[in-house]
């Protein structure tokens, strides 16, 4: 019986091609929009996750300054974490590596090329902590750190901008007019969380940076410190130990606030993921307004159709169609219309989001969500918008309907 109903419904909507197409259009656009928005949201989420992962897993981040219920009170706290604070964490249980960064920006010049670049003054451990790999050459060592040798590692963007196809190893470049020797290059990482270019970087020993680029009255204080933990489930414990140790080193009395803030990368990833998720839901909800409009379109069309086909309904009833049959036929018609609309809309949505991904140079996932969305839209919208017209058709009195001109 279902087969017969679907066939009859199909023939009916197929005999009004233009009208069916126009009605379908609303759902098509709606589903395409939702699929695209969900894909966009997922891409944002994936980008967030990926860039966190590229920064290295199981990281604890320590920034100077007090924390106030989860947030940092000031943009950058007074310097409070010293190089030796961080070094003291190295021997701690479950800590793989600990490092710190003092950062600045500088004008890099090589030959006639010049380029603005971020400079990170750090320790050899930072490569481990931040998931950086040496591409060619060698890293700087603890001895270089101690002596403040002017040795630098170049990120891929800096190489491209200053050297083009030349080999940078062993060359001397000038940063803010002071000479530095390139001893190694870093493997590229791609874009960071904010779409910033992580490869536009020069690394050097922190002491070198302090001595040659960014002097300070307190040269031994770090901007930020990183601790890499051996296992994810040890993060909390290690964070507590770090807090204890730093408080002790800073001679903080009981009851006073920390003068530093400890954050777990895992927490930050989750927070960022939640933001991404909320963004996805928001985008999809906005897009689904067009689905509601499309659904009203179907209902409108079906109501017109029932009135137009009053006599057909009378004939069918006279020839043995039960009320139920009539209702299901009209319901099936609207479900078929919304099904076609959402199917085509799903394909359009996937195609357009891939094109968008191509344009913005991002991998856009083709997710099971687009299928789930379009199927449920087909059923929900089809039934919701077809129910009223179908009941109207069902209730028609066959005698009246046969008399209808």
């Amino acid at each position: 019986m279902i087969g017969q109903i679907i066939r009859e419904a199909w023939i009916s909507i197929a005999s009004y091609k233009m009208r069916t197409f126009l009605t379908t259009l609303g759902i098509m656009i709606g589903v395409a929009a939702v699929v695209m928005m969900v894909a966009a949201g997922q891409t944002v989420q994936n980008t967030i996750t990926e860039s966190f992962e590229s920064m290295g897993g199981n990281l604890i981040i320590i920034v100077p300054g007090q924390s106030v219920s989860g947030g940092v009170r000031t943009a950058r706290g007074r310097p409070s974490v010293t190089f030796s604070d961080v070094d003291s964490l190295k021997g701690m249980k479950d800590v793989v590596a600990a490092s710190y960064i003092v950062s600045t920006t500088a004008q890099a010049v090589y030959g006639s090329n010049n380029w603005n670049v971020s400079v990170a003054g750090t320790t050899p451990d930072y490569l481990t902590v931040g998931n950086w790999e040496i591409d060619r050459g060698i890293p700087f060592t603890d001895r270089d750190l101690k002596s403040g040798n002017p040795y630098i590692l170049l990120g891929q963007t800096v190489i491209d901008e200053l050297f083009g196809l030349q080999d940078p190893i062993g060359k001397t470049i000038r940063l803010n007019n002071r000479p530095f020797t390139v001893i190694g290059t870093l493997q590229p990482k791609g874009d960071g969380l904010m779409g910033d270019d992580q490869d536009n970087i020069i690394m050097m020993p922190a002491t070198t940076l302090r001595q040659r680029l960014r002097g300070s009255r307190r040269p031994n204080y770090a901007d930020v410190a990183f601790v890499k933990v051996s296992e994810e489930n040890k993060m909390e414990t290690v964070a507590n130990r770090i807090e204890y140790q730093l408080r002790a080193r800073h001679r903080l009395k009981e009851g006073t606030d920390n003068d530093f803030t400890i954050r777990l990368m895992t927490e930050m990833v989750n927070q960022a993921r939640n933001v991404g998720m909320i963004l996805s839901i928001l985008l999809a909800s906005i897009a689904s307004i067009s689905l509601i409009v499309g659904s009203i379109g179907i209902m409108n069309m079906m109501l017109v159709s029932v009135t137009e086909r009053t006599r057909e309904i009378g004939i069918r009833k006279a020839l043995g169609a039960s009320n139920r049959w009539i209702m299901f036929q009209f319901l099936t018609e609207s479900v078929l219309i919304s099904f076609m609309g959402s199917f085509v809309g799903m394909i359009l949505g996937v195609v357009f989001s891939q094109i968008g991904g191509f344009i913005f140079d991002k991998t856009v996932p083709i997710s099971i969500w687009s299928v789930i969305i379009s199927v449920s839209v087909a059923v929900i919208v089809g039934v919701a918008s077809g129910l009223m017209p179908a009941i109207k058709a069902m209730k028609l009195d066959p005698i009246e309907a046969l008399r209808y001109q």
């Binding site: 066939r7 005999s15 004939i315 020839l319 043995g320 039960s322 049959w325 005698i399 046969l402």
Partner: protein, 242 residues
């Protein structure tokens, strides 16, 4: 009457009153009783507004009487649910209408086989049976045309083929020749006569004496009451005698 030979239609004290908005009501059928045996050919006549169509709609299970009994093939119709009535219409009754009532967007074959859909009969069998019915009404070769592509007389023959396809025990025709010219009317009435000779019970409503002449029995309705019920010839005789 015994069980082995119950009439196709049996109507007892049938009344129909239309209740309209504003408390108005109109009594259209008043205390009508008759029975129709299998194989009969009955014409129902009467002035316009006398209640013929109302009676036909009740007999065809499209409407229910206000009071009185209606038995179709021995079954009490007034007890049946909407679903059962639909099934009775689909299995036991064939309809022929004045304005043919074909689905204009469907082929002749689709139109003829339409009642079989509601009996859940497959597409292939429907088509084959439609072809057989079309042969019966002399329309072989027209199965893939659309109603708009054939004449009124042919459309009515399609409608007759459609009314026959479920092997009904009775065919109701409400002014089947009302929209046709005399020659075409004769053609249609000859078809009914032939079907009747094959044993199909036919009840038709008509205004035209010529059309009623094809029937053996006449039921005359006047102002909602049965005025005459008997042989068509005898009624004619009575009229002429006056």
């Amino acid at each position: 009457m015994n069980d082995t030979h119950s009439p196709v239609i049996e109507v007892k004290n049938l009344c129909k009153t239309y209740f309209m908005s504003g408390g108005m009501s109109q009594s259209v059928l008043k205390d009508i009783s008759f029975s129709i045996e299998a194989g009969e050919f009955v014409a129902i006549m009467g002035h316009s507004g006398s209640g013929k169509s109302t009676l036909m709609n009740i007999l065809g299970c499209l409407d229910k009487p206000t009071s009185g009994l209606y038995l179709l093939n021995g079954d009490l119709v007034s007890d049946k649910s909407e679903l059962e009535l639909a099934s009775v219409r689909g299995h036991e009754i064939g309809f022929v209408f004045q304005n043919f009532n074909l689905l204009m967007k469907r082929t002749i074959a689709d139109n003829v086989s339409l009642p079989l859909i509601y009996q859940n009969i497959g597409e292939k069998e429907r088509y084959e049976r439609a072809l057989r019915m079309l042969e019966k009404v002399g329309l072989t070769g027209y199965e893939n045309r659309f109603p708009s592509q054939i004449s009124g007389g042919m459309q009515q023959r399609v409608a007759i083929a459609r009314s026959l396809i479920n092997n009904p025990s009775i065919i109701f025709a409400d002014e089947p020749t009302g929209n046709l010219d005399t020659a075409t009317s004769d053609e249609i009435m000859n078809l009914f006569t032939r079907l009747n000779q094959q044993g199909i019970t036919i009840v038709l409503v008509t205004h035209e004496e010529d059309v009623a002449d094809y029937a053996k029995r006449l039921i005359k309705i006047s102002d909602g009451r049965k005025e005459y019920d008997g042989l068509r010839q005898s009624y004619q005789g009575r009229q002429e005698a006056k």
